[in-house]
């Protein structure tokens, strides 16, 4: 009998706890300025003239806080941005061909709220083509990575820790223009393992593989939000 009572109490407590927890999942509305005598629930009351100024300023701050003022570049802006930062002409035959394929899948307008996963796929595809042309053109790649020897292979330690860091940081400097030190540090940390993934099961004595891996890293950095956001 006691066990049944205890069981009932525990169940009731759990139910109560669950209701409390769900109730607290709801995001709280922004609170009004404490200098105002109005509570959030009394927003329909008519303020006195002195009160109006305080409340409208607070509302302005709230609106400012909830408004998105970041945009996404549209299809043509992305095409020319990638051209600008890589040095590859947007009129290159390979770029024109891929752009013709993905143009309609790239963002139409600058509203970041309509940005979808499919847009990112198109951005990545275009970035991959830019990196393909960039890495295969010696005169262009030397501008981005002047101190990397593209004649090295995996067996020749092309992707040593120092080289990895150099390849990533150089690409960031060239493509993002104004990265912070923190961004660079985090990105090196995040992208470094990609070298291992790309090297897996690849021929260790081929410079074609070396260029392919650099293209992969280049694509990741070129298709990132730092390049496509406005």
């Amino acid at each position: 009998m006691n066990k049944i009572k205890i069981y009932k109490i525990v169940v009731l407590l759990l139910l109560g706890l669950m209701m409390f927890a769900f109730n607290n999942c709801i995001q709280k509305a922004p609170s009004y300025n404490s200098t105002s005598s109005r509570s959030p629930s009394s927003s329909i009351s008519i303020p006195t003239p002195g009160e109006t100024e305080v409340v409208s300023k607070t509302e302005a701050e709230i609106l400012q806080a909830i408004q998105v003022s970041t945009g996404i570049k549209n299809f043509e802006q992305i095409l020319h941005t990638m051209s600008e930062v890589t040095g590859v002409s947007s009129q290159n035959a390979g770029i024109k061909s891929i752009y013709a394929q993905v143009q309609t899948s790239l963002p139409n307008e600058n509203d970041v709220k309509v940005f979808m996963a499919s847009h990112q796929v198109a951005v990545t595809k275009l970035a991959a083509e830019y990196c393909q042309v960039l890495v295969e053109t010696a005169a262009l790649r030397v501008i981005i990575w002047p101190n990397f020897n593209f004649g090295l292979t995996i067996a020749g330690n092309a992707f040593s820790a120092a080289n990895r860091e150099y390849l990533i940081e150089s690409a960031i400097d060239a493509f993002w223009i104004v990265p912070t030190d923190e961004e660079k540090m985090q990105t090196v940390e995040q992208v470094s393992p990609l070298f291992d993934e790309l090297m897996a099961a690849e021929a260790t004595g081929s410079t074609t593989v070396t260029r392919g891996i650099v293209k992969g890293v280049c694509t990741v950095i070129l298709s990132s939000a730092q390049v496509t956001l406005l």
């Binding site: 409208s56 300023k57 509302e59 302005a60 609106l63 400012q64 408004q67 998105v68 003022s69 970041t70 945009g71 570049k73 549209n74 043509e76 802006q77 020319h80 941005t81 051209s83 600008e84 930062v85 947007s90 009129q91 309609t104 139409n108 307008e109 600058n110 509203d111 970041v112 990112q120 990545t124 223009i177 104004v178 912070t180 923190e182 961004e183 985090q186 990105t187 995040q190 992208v191 393992p193 990609l194 993934e197 990741v220 298709s223 990132s224 939000a225 730092q226 956001l229 406005l230």
Partner: protein, 371 residues
């Protein structure tokens, strides 16, 4: 793969200093990041408290015209309001007027058109867009190669009115229909109002045409409470288009004849019959007086009608609002932003300058340094 996905989700850090602001400003105004030397110059201007000078540096980049403005203007030239259309004479003319610092209101009524100085491209044609589509496909620099011309001389159209009588406007807004579409899109594009916003059933309906049923569905209340709210105003204005039609891929003007479509579908014989190109702004009084009409509110032909639109207060406010949305990437809904839009609109129309480039510079500088 996991690393890659995580990296794509890598969030952008907060923008703060003059360097980041200069970077953002250049991106917003040209669509591309600045070169290092340009970034330095812009950064210095922002650092010294002159963000407008920084914006002035950015708008000297050809891509301000070739990418950002071109894509901003394109939606004004088609019914779908999309930027995924070819470059055309309408867009080229607006770009040219901005580049040459011609008062922007003139795009609506001046005898002006811009073509591209490029011998490789097909010549301008009244019945084809090939001239413009060709130069765009070859990425020809519009800033360097646009040339202003007298529209009536180039097209042979005797009654011109800026972009309103370009071929692109003809294809989009004068084809088929009843010549009401051009009027509606004028309100949308240049006064930032659609007919729903202007709906007023209190004004007289003596200019409502015969093709508007007075008892739709057998109930005249529908006409009196709904239809008349838009038609009483728009039909009175649309008389100005009485001589225009889009036929065989070109805009034609028939000075001695009202085009058939203005008077067809005779559902109500007592309705207004268009016999001249006279127009009256019946919305000049009542609730729509708030648009701030100035000068003549009646006249003949398209040019005088668009002079009225261009000189209205709503035109300046609309352009200021559109520019704000272009460079600030949000709507002006908080009181500070609303006030800025109003102030910029007043400065835009001051002394009839209507300098859109300056409006863009002023608006963008404030926005980027306040974010």
């Amino acid at each position: 793969m996991k690393t890659y996905v995580l990296f794509l989700l890598f969030s952008i850090t907060a923008w703060a200093g003059p360097r980041e602001q200069a970077f953002k400003l250049h991106n917003r105004l040209t669509g591309v990041p600045p070169k290092p030397d340009v970034l330095l110059v812009m950064e210095d201007h922002i650092r010294s408290g002159e963000p407008e000078r920084a914006a002035e540096v950015a708008v000297q980049d050809p891509r301000f015209y070739n990418i950002v403005l071109k894509n901003w203007i394109k939606p004004w030239t088609n019914r779908e309001r999309t930027n995924r259309v070819e470059l055309n004479d309408y867009v080229a003319t607006v770009l040219g007027v901005i580049r040459d610092d011609i008062p922007f209101d003139r795009i609506l009524y001046d005898d002006i058109i811009y073509t591209v100085n490029d011998t490789t491209a097909p010549a301008y044609s009244n019945t084809s867009n090939a001239h413009y589509s060709n130069v765009e496909s070859r990425n020809v620099d519009l800033e360097a190669n646009l040339i202003g011309q007298t529209q009536s001389t180039l097209t042979g159209l005797p009654a011109t009115s800026g972009v309103i009588t370009t071929r692109a406007a003809g294809a989009a807004f004068y084809s088929a229909g009843t010549n009401r579409r051009i009027n509606r899109f004028t309100f949308i594009n240049y006064l930032c109002k659609d007919y729903e916003d202007l709906h007023d059933i209190t004004i007289p309906d003596y200019r409502v045409r015969r093709d508007v049923e007075r008892n739709p569905g057998g109930d005249s209340r529908t006409y009196k409470n709904k239809c008349v709210g838009c038609h009483a105003g728009q039909d009175a204005l649309a008389g100005a288009f009485a001589h225009y039609d889009f036929v065989d891929n070109g805009l034609v003007y028939t000075p001695l004849k009202v085009v058939t479509k203005m008077n067809h579908n005779n559902y109500y014989p007592e309705g207004f019959v268009t016999s001249t190109d006279s127009w009256i702004n019946t919305w000049a009084t009542g609730q729509n007086a708030v648009l701030g009409w100035r000068g003549a509110t009646q006249g003949n032909g398209v040019k005088s009608l668009y002079q009225m639109f261009a000189k209205s207060k709503a035109f300046s406010q609309c352009m200021s609002k559109k520019v704000f949305e272009l460079v600030c990437l949000k709507e002006a809904i908080n009181p500070d932003d609303k006030a800025a839009v109003e102030t910029n609109a007043a400065a835009f129309e001051k002394d009839n300058q209507y300098n859109l480039k300056k409006l863009i510079v002023r608006t963008s500088a404030r926005c980027v340094t306040n974010e």
